[in-house]
Symmetry: C2
Subunit: 533 residues, 2 copies
């Protein structure tokens, strides 16, 4: 990594304050509290201080683990069009018939637990944005994969690379998001076989947060690795291990039920062998790709994820893996996917507990919704997903911000609203302050019965950092709200994303590095036939 | 209670099914599952099957309990304009100076724990709607106290008795609401000193669910008790105890910080001495009525609630009491109350745990929001309150449905949306089905890799009851949604409340009972001077 990059943003408010010392006193105290509040909002990731919420007990979790083992042993998992994968499993002791792989009880679990790390650091080009994935940590990334975008002015339309870059910029500016994400939206204006270059380059250029790589073809995964090598330069290899640092994380979806295909397997191989992280995610709409029950869906998800993670460990022992779960329901009337309903929340709580028992990081959740617009349906459904995400203990949260219409559309206003909610989660996960200042007995003694706390010393000292402050909710009087145009949340969010894009400034990037990446991209693009594949 | 009343709705779908026996088979099974799903939605109250979520440990809870005792001992609580209250406390061993009551450490807790019931049944005129308040149970009641109503057609306006009755009817029809509530909105078109008659009568006449009484004057509390006596007739006195059955629950707010006034104390005395239930609720906007911290707000809330509940037990040992907590924050910029932020959620989790340790039922939460309209802000804020309400373990949930604008306005569309959310909470609190059918291993064995579950026997047998079904969310394709008018959730909710009101049918009521209550009301109304007070 280049000096310019390494030095960016290392001067925190605390560091700037330290040389001048700290003096007591209400005004100074208050200012310090304010600074502290602001810096808390820009933590590189969240380390939770509250317990996990679990919905079933030890016995229940064991039942699901046993059922997952039964699925792996009796039913098996298909690994399609990848003889190497079948060979790896055969050598590891699996029963392989055709493309069907059956695991002796406990084998997949053992393969994962023997070599997969419990948690790992994903490096960013700005080390202040490195994230630790796993343990008590939560990392928020934006939504992923939608072909459409939506905003209040222009409605719904196909996404372009400009939209993609806009969302990279907005994510870079969002203190509550720790990660730049991956295919935030599909830049449909670019050729399918080349758009990964522009997406990966945009993450590198317009942000300095960690990002995700391309998984739609093994070659595109390799391009991602090569570009990242150039970005990190001398810092690519960790001198302690002699291996590449983990600098890309990647979404390897199972083709549920109980199937992996060669595209995903090929991408996983590339990343795992370069020590980059793979999220193995059974993508399940319960009722279609799994049984209609929570316990059945959880057992199947665990079985599929175990098989995928075992594959990664066989390819490259010790490569970082994440147990992913994307589980929602379908409407049994229309077959349409539904989001923010209670059943997927229960699946999430169960899967988070299973991942902890297994000892691997967990990916799920976000701000999922089925609504086409950023209305009350979108907000309820998203909250009903994001709160379980945080209480259950998701380590890597994809789809934190922007998700609309079951992932078909990325909303500009929805993005701003979701970032606000993610900001609140920082406060929630930070738990209850039980210090003397948190107990606030001095304030209660000072004020006493029948008085108010607005002016007391404790309130004055803490008021800047006291409560989470939303930039978009309206708490004014009805009369004032009406005088200001009776705007709803979407309208206020619309104003904010425009303001943010107008104020965006790119993080500093070393010129030679930038040129090196662009040179690679241009050479590779030139090597393609002109047609789209 | 009269025969007509007792017999209403005792024939459940299960009872109707039983004599005909149960046969196996997909179609029959599916129909039975569907019936079971419907009847599950109309349970009289929820008994949770998932654990409580707690945010601080034993040691943290003890710190807050110690601080509450310190507040009661050192700072004290004011009981204003009620010499009888001061006398009761003095005799119980408190230090009373002027109107300030200071409690020896542990006394308030002891007074509550010695005689207050851990849980109690509130009787409804239809016994199928009796609710048990406390323990693992959750009872949902609509919002309370707003002077305005809002709907999409007519906007915001002062509430009338017609609005009040509309909301009683909608609540009666809402399977997800177990309780008719109290002052759902203020019927501003009726004189202040007489409107309680019309409100209480409306609950009795247009619903057969349990309800709340008037607390704005001791005489109005007495009127509520007298009307309820007539409603229950021969069933008013429990022959086992010789005491009145608990048939009204009432909201006794502290005048925080650390003050109770004579209006609330007077109403509490009337109800407690008639064995009716009192919810003692410190009403706190943190930063104004309490310190800006979670731990400080919780300690003060506990101290105030303990003092109020001890007062009730001194008035009438054994009378049902509920520990209430209404805690939100204020904007430190404008002083406006804010809702759905993370700090009040943390207070809720802490207070729920403290109530369990004390051994009394707990009231808090609901669908609180600051938004003026049923937009995404309202939905996020409400979800961020309702989920903690359910995960934390609130027993009596006031403000479940309809709340807008910090309680200033009752929304027709918001009501419908909140009822839908409350319905989802039934599924969430029911937890994970770990029966053989819930584990669904047969389905996974039948379907296998690469197939879909839509047609398998397990899906066919369970599809009617598989997932919570919302009557208002839209999960159709974008194209279909657009073809149907691109409606948002508020517009769909608007159609549903109108349909429901059009379909409303009043529960049967014994004519003599009805006449008896009206006769009481008319005599009492005639005894008032004509002016409003």
């Amino acid at each position: 990594m280049n000096d310019t990059v390494v030095q960016a943003e290392t001067a925190t408010p605390e560091a700037a304050e330290a040389p001048r010392g700290r003096r007591a006193g209400g005004g100074r105290e208050a200012k310090r509290a304010a600074r502290s509040a602001r810096s808390a909002q820009s933590v590189p990731y969240i380390t939770r201080k509250i317990p996990y919420f679990e919905v079933i007990d030890e016995e229940g979790l064991q039942i699901i683990e046993r059922n997952a083992d039964t699925i792996l042993e009796e039913v098996g998992i298909d690994f399609r069009d990848d003889p190497e994968a079948l060979d790896l499993f055969r050598k590891a002791g699996c029963d392989v018939k055709g493309e069907r792989v059956r695991f002796p009880r406990g084998l997949a679990r053992k393969l994962v637990q023997d070599t997969a790390p419990r948690e790992f650091m994903q490096h960013a080009r700005n080390p202040a944005h490195n994230v630790v994935i796993g343990g008590k940590n939560t990392v928020f990334a934006p939504a992923y994969g939608s072909p459409f975008v939506r905003d209040l002015d222009k409605g719904r339309r196909y996404a372009t690379i400009e939209d993609f870059q806009n969302f990279v910029k907005l994510t870079y500016m969002a203190n509550a998001l720790h990660h730049s994400g991956g295919t935030i939206c599909e830049p449909v204006d670019l050729p399918v076989n080349k758009r990964h270059f522009d997406m990966v380059y945009s993450h590198m250029k317009y942000s300095d947060k960690p990002f995700m790589g391309s998984v739609t073809h093994p070659e595109r995964a390799q391009d991602t690795v090569e570009m990242t090598k150039i970005l990190f330069g001398d810092n690519w290899i960790d001198p302690l291990t002699g291996k590449p640092r983990t600098a890309v994380i990647n979404l390897i979806n199972a083709n549920s039920p109980m199937t992996f295909d060669e595209t995903m397997l090929g991408a996983a191989k590339v990343y795992a062998r370069a020590n980059q992280a793979c999220i193995i995610t059974p993508f399940i709409l319960a009722g279609a790709m799994s049984p209609v029950t929570v316990a059945g869906t959880a057992a199947q998800t665990l079985a599929e994820a175990l098989a995928g993670m075992a594959f990664v460990q066989l390819c490259s022992p010790g490569a970082p893996v994440v147990l992913g779960s994307f589980a929602s329901s379908i409407s049994m009337q229309s077959g349409a996917p539904t989001f923010g309903t209670p059943e997927p929340a229960l699946v999430l709580y169960v899967m988070a507990a299973l991942a902890r028992r297994l000892g691997v990081p967990f990916r799920s959740g976000g701000g999922l919704c089925g609504s086409k617009i950023s209305d009350a349906q979108a907000a309820s459904e998203s909250a009903n997903t994001l709160l379980p995400t945080c209480l259950g203990g998701v380590n890597f949260v994809l789809h934190t911000a922007g998700w609309l219409e079951g992932g078909l559309s990325m909303g500009y206003e929805k993005f701003i609203m979701d970032v606000d909610q993610a900001g609140m989660m920082h406060t929630l996960l930070n738990g209850v302050d039980l210090t003397e200042n948190g107990q606030a007995m001095d304030a209660i003694r000072e004020v006493g019965p029948g008085k108010h706390f607005l002016g007391c010393a404790h309130t004055q000292a803490n008021f800047e950092s006291a409560f989470y402050r939303s930039p978009i909710t309206d708490n004014n009087s009805f009369e004032q709200w009406e005088a200001e145009g009776s705007r709803d949340l979407t309208q206020r969010a619309n104003a904010l994303w425009k303001k943010q894009l107008a104020e965006y400034e790119a993080p500093a990037m070393d010129v030679a590095t930038d040129e090196g990446i662009l040179d690679y991209v241009n050479r590779r693009k030139a090597s393609f036939p002109d047609s789209n594949i």
